[in-house]
Amino acid sequence: MELLKIAFCRNLFKFLCFCRGLHSGVVVSTFALQLENPWFTSRLSRDLSAWSLHVLPVHAWVFSRVLRLPPTVQKYAEMAAPLTLLLVLAVTIRAALFRSSLAELIAERVEVVSPITAWKRVVEGLALLDLGVSPYSGDVFHETPLIIYLFHFVVDYAEITFMLADVITAVALYMAVKDYNKQVFRKQKFALEADRYPLDCLELIRSPKEMYYIPLKVAMFYLLNPFTILSCVAKSTCGLNNAVVALFIFSTIKGNTLLSAIFLCLATYQSIYPLTLCAPAMLYLMQRQYIPVNFRRASFWWFIAQYLFMYLGSLFVLICLSFFLLGSWDYMPSVYGFILSVPDLTPNIGLFWYFFAEMFEHFRLFFLCVFQINVFFYTIPLSVKLKEHPVFLIFMQLAVISIFKSYPTVGDIALYMAFLPVWSHLYRFLRNTFLVSCVLLACSTLFPVLWHLWIYAGSANSNFYYAITLLFNVAQILLVSDYFYAFLRREHHLTYGLYLKRKDGSEATLVLK
């Protein structure tokens, strides 16, 4: 029996090594692990040992005991096994869809591709470049020069590139969330040791066991989300933007200031909106470096200056690089002007297209400003309210961006939805999960139906499709505000106790006032 078990485990390990050799995703993960500084690695292993008793499920325990692998390999193996399987599954699904006839259909869907991210337009840009015409001289191509430069080389391997981008996003989110969970756990441990939680709050304390699968769930939520799959199969460059944002989150959570600034700058360069992620990144990095958020402290301002310098410096380098790639500034109005002034009213899942198609001309500029400011507007109040919880702030910002941006696609939604498992402990405080999930599902199925009725059958008109986009956005807003509410409420309970009493001793009702 024992021998059999050993043989089985060896085979499994061999398979895993094989997978690792095959699969770049794991290569990325190992690479990412090597990136972290020694201080952090030691901290990580200490934490691991501290909660391995609770955390490690039995099979992992057996696995490590039987094989007696060196500790690092053991760590990779136990982490990589389910993730690798997930990656293989995700890549298989995508590869199968790429080969099927559905790929062409999906690539035309307005929910999946926007004028900015459509693959057809990237190909058009390359074709224009081949004809000797600047791709920005027309109004079809709106990608940044770096994207066109990238695809100039990998246009024949586009499918692999997009699958790789998804894998990178998933692995980066996986690692980031894993790390974040450790910190949450550590913080909770300190708070428990300091007796900061009320006694009746033990129910709210998060156990390592329930937290163990969260990173995997995050990766799964991202990779197996139909929205992501559709986005990848349509070769929407939104997948690349998501990868950059995920890498930014990863490097921020790992505490690497420079990489965080660089990736944030890349994300901003790609589509202006991630600019608002500047605030959570700085808050998080300051928290890690024990810099108090205090306007009177020089260290606070010094850090801000440092981060902004890195951010703006790399932005400057990128913009100049783009200028030298094509030798003109044409891309500025064509990319950023296009995002901000919304000239293309092709229907999508956002709020802009029909609103500005029906807008009175002399109010257009005013409402354009109002709608665009709306995206950036929430940054400061949210940062003030959530300054202790920058990762939740990142989630909120991503959601706000994907709801209120000018050309949203389902790929943007997939990115913030991947974070939902991280907040699974908020589930008991959510008020309308059933309603929101029903509406989201119904809308997702109704989008193609009503599109068909409007565009092909001619039996419906634009109002039908518009109504569904409205409902879809309301559902998203409800979802986000519900999570925000639940998060605040849990924090409140963690301070004041779970079972609140009135003055007369009866059970109290908690309201927002």
């Binding site: 029906e358 807003i477 009702t509």
Partner: protein, 641 residues
């Protein structure tokens, strides 16, 4: 009182005669004596009359041949744009002619041409103020906007090349305007904008709708037809309005530009109620500088007004194939325009050399032969300046009575058609088919496509196939569109293999516009102007190797230049494309609903950001208590207010 009444006309008469005297005097000082001009005429007609007298004195020949002149085919040719005129010339000169071609479909094609030549220089510093034959309105346009060449056409209906053959002057349905400016113009776009507005006023047409969204600068398709070899296409503007409807209000100002108006000469035939009751109607104005003599020492301006019309007499005549001038125009001719130096009617009788196809009356013995569109055509000529043309009844009513309905037309060598493929309102595909009917010669064609910005072309989907094989264009000039600023421009040089169909396809995406950008009838669709196909087509005469009929053998081995190929411009059908439309009835609703959703987002976040959790004191109502029970069952701690 009565004396006063008598006195007034007398005074008026004296005043008028005095002013006339002054005007005549001033004209004498500026332009050459008019009497001399009309008497002297050009030597060509002199030669003609000489020939006529010679023929009459001979008395044996039944048919006489008019001195063969290089006709409109030369005007079409871009290779040699200048029309050489023999010297000496009067300062200005007016010619009118009507060509009638019986078509094989039973229709009648009538083409009017009015040409005014004026040796002057509009670009000189001092203003040209004395106009005689040349219309002042156009002269002022030329000098004010520094126009080098102006071509404008208004067309109702579509020319069916496969049934009717090539027209003498092709034009696309709707309005077409193309202008070459002098290279002294600095702001071409502003000048163009002003010019279109002025022309819009002159011709009572909606040319003011020409703006940057439908103007292009073709790089190769439209070369200057007059003298001057500047081909910098920065000074060229080309625009079409495929939706323009041409009617009486465009014809009247056009007729006013003629020296005789519609009072005398061929223009009396231009009655709008008949002209617009036709299958095809096209009127055009072409202005260009031409050489005055063969050395091109002096240049003069040529104004060519043309009007082409195709009458469907076969159907309206209850199956009787017979037509006359009166039937077509409800007028007969009584005189030539007195100001015209030449006034002629040509009837194409190439297919009827021995009179077996149709009978022409009154008969004429004057014949003319010309190379038209690569084909040698024979015409019966009626000279309206000769009194005996009108006969004893002093009116000319040409009549053709068919004897047989057979006879086949030579297929046009180049032919094109276009359509939109695909279904739904999201995407589509434009197909352009170009036919080369030449049995053994391939020739290159220049295809020009100007597509409005709201059909977003994807140039990477462009395919050119002939005979099932990929046919790569040797030259592509593509200018992508800018939303609400400029259209797509696609020009390419394609070699058409002999006896083949070449198909050009390109995919497009339909844009959703702002509700104010739609036409009042948005579900009618949007027009896309015709494609323009320009080509030097190998001549049918050159194709006919046995055509040594009346030519000596030594002259016919190598095809001579002007007969080997000829210039042809073919316009395809305009397209009608549907776009997705928003609901025009509810801008308020949309604004309110969308703002509500944004407010829902703002409100819920604002609530959570600004308020804090507090314990509610008063006891809840029944509904809330039930809700709280449900919450408790879910394990939801605490209760809601």
């Amino acid at each position: 009182m009565a004396a006063h009444r008598c006195c007034f006309p007398v005074w008026l008469f004296i005043l008028c005669s005095f002013s006339l005297f002054i005007i005549a005097g001033s004209q004498e000082t500026t332009v050459a004596p008019e009497q001399h001009a009309s008497v002297l005429d050009n030597p060509q007609t002199a030669a003609e009359t000489a020939e006529q007298t010679a023929g009459e004195s001979g008395g044996v020949e039944e048919r006489r041949w008019e001195g063969t002149e290089v006709r409109d085919a030369a005007a079409q040719k871009q290779a040699e744009p200048a029309v050489l005129q023999p010297t000496p010339q009067p300062k200005d000169d007016f010619q009118e002619e009507l060509v009638v071609r019986p078509l094989h479909s039973g229709d009648i094609y009538a083409s009017f041409q009015f040409r005014t030549l004026w040796e002057t220089d509009f670009m000189r510093g001092n203003k040209v103020s004395h106009y005689r034959l040349f219309p002042k309105s156009l002269g002022q346009v030329i000098s004010k906007f520094s126009v080098r060449e102006l071509h404008i056409s208004f067309t109702q209906g579509y020319w069916r090349t496969m049934q009717w053959g090539q027209p003498y002057l092709p034009s696309p349905p709707g309005a077409e305007l193309w202008v070459w400016f002098q290279d002294s113009v600095t702001d071409v776009d502003a000048t163009w904008k002003e010019l279109t507005n002025v022309l819009s006023g002159i011709f009572c047409a909606s040319l003011n709708f020409i703006d940057s969204t439908n103007t292009v600068q073709p790089s190769a398709s439209f070369k200057p037809l007059g003298i001057g070899n500047v081909t910098d296409h920065r000074f060229l503007r080309y625009a079409t309005l495929p939706r323009e409807i041409v009617c009486t209000e465009n014809l009247t100002p056009w007729k006013k530009l003629l020296p005789c108006g519609s009072k005398a000469g061929l223009a009396v035939l231009l009655k709008s109620e008949k002209l617009f009751h036709s299958s095809f109607h096209s009127q055009a104005v072409h202005i260009r500088p031409v050489c005055q003599d063969w050395q091109c020492k002096t240049t003069s301006w040529e104004l060519r007004q043309t009007l082409n019309v195709v009458f469907d007499l076969h159907n309206s005549g209850q199956g009787k194939r017979e037509w006359s001038l009166f039937k077509m125009f409800s007028r007969t001719l009584t005189e030539a325009c007195p100001l015209a130096s030449s006034s002629k009617i040509y009837i194409d009788i190439t297919d009827n050399p021995e009179g077996e196809q149709f009978e022409l009356s009154p008969a004429t013995s004057l014949l003319s032969q010309a190379m038209v569109l690569g084909d040698r055509r024979t015409f019966s000529v009626y000279d309206l300046t000769q009194q005996d043309t009108f006969g004893s009844v002093r009116s000319l009513n040409l009549l053709i009575r068919w004897k047989s309905t057979e006879g086949d037309m030579l297929r046009p060598l180049l032919h094109a058609e276009r359509y939109v493929a695909g279904y739904g309102l999201q995407t589509g595909e434009i197909h352009t088919l170009m036919y080369n009917h030449h049995p053994y010669r391939s020739f290159p064609v220049l295809l020009l496509d100007s597509v409005p910005w709201y059909l977003r072309l994807y140039i990477h989907t462009l395919t050119v196939t002939s005979k099932g094989k990929d046919n790569k264009p040797s030259y592509i000039h593509y200018q992508p569109s800018k939303d609400r600023v400029r259209p797509h421009l696609l020009e390419m040089l394609v070699q058409l293999p002999p006896n083949s169909v070449t198909e050009v396809t390109v995919q497009f995406e339909r844009a959703l516009l702002k509700w104010t950008e739609y036409t009042p009838d948005p579900n009618h669709g949007f027009y896309v102007g015709s494609s323009v196909i320009s080509s030097l087509v190998p001549s049918t005469v050159a194709m006919d190797t046995n055509s040594t009929r009346e030519r000596p053998l030594f002259s016919s081995f190598f095809p001579c230049k002007e007969e080997s190929s000829y210039f042809v411009r073919v316009y395809t059908e305009p397209l009608l494309v549907n776009l997705p439309t928003p609901d025009f009835s509810m801008p308020y609703n949309v604004i309110c609903l969308t703002c509500t959703v944004v407010a829902v987002g703002y409100g819920s976040l604002y609530n959570l950001l600004t308020r804090s959790f507090q314990i509610e004191e008063p006891s809840p109502g029944l509904a809330k208590r039930i809700a709280n029970v449900i919450r408790k069952m879910r394990g939801f701690p605490g209760t809601m207010g």
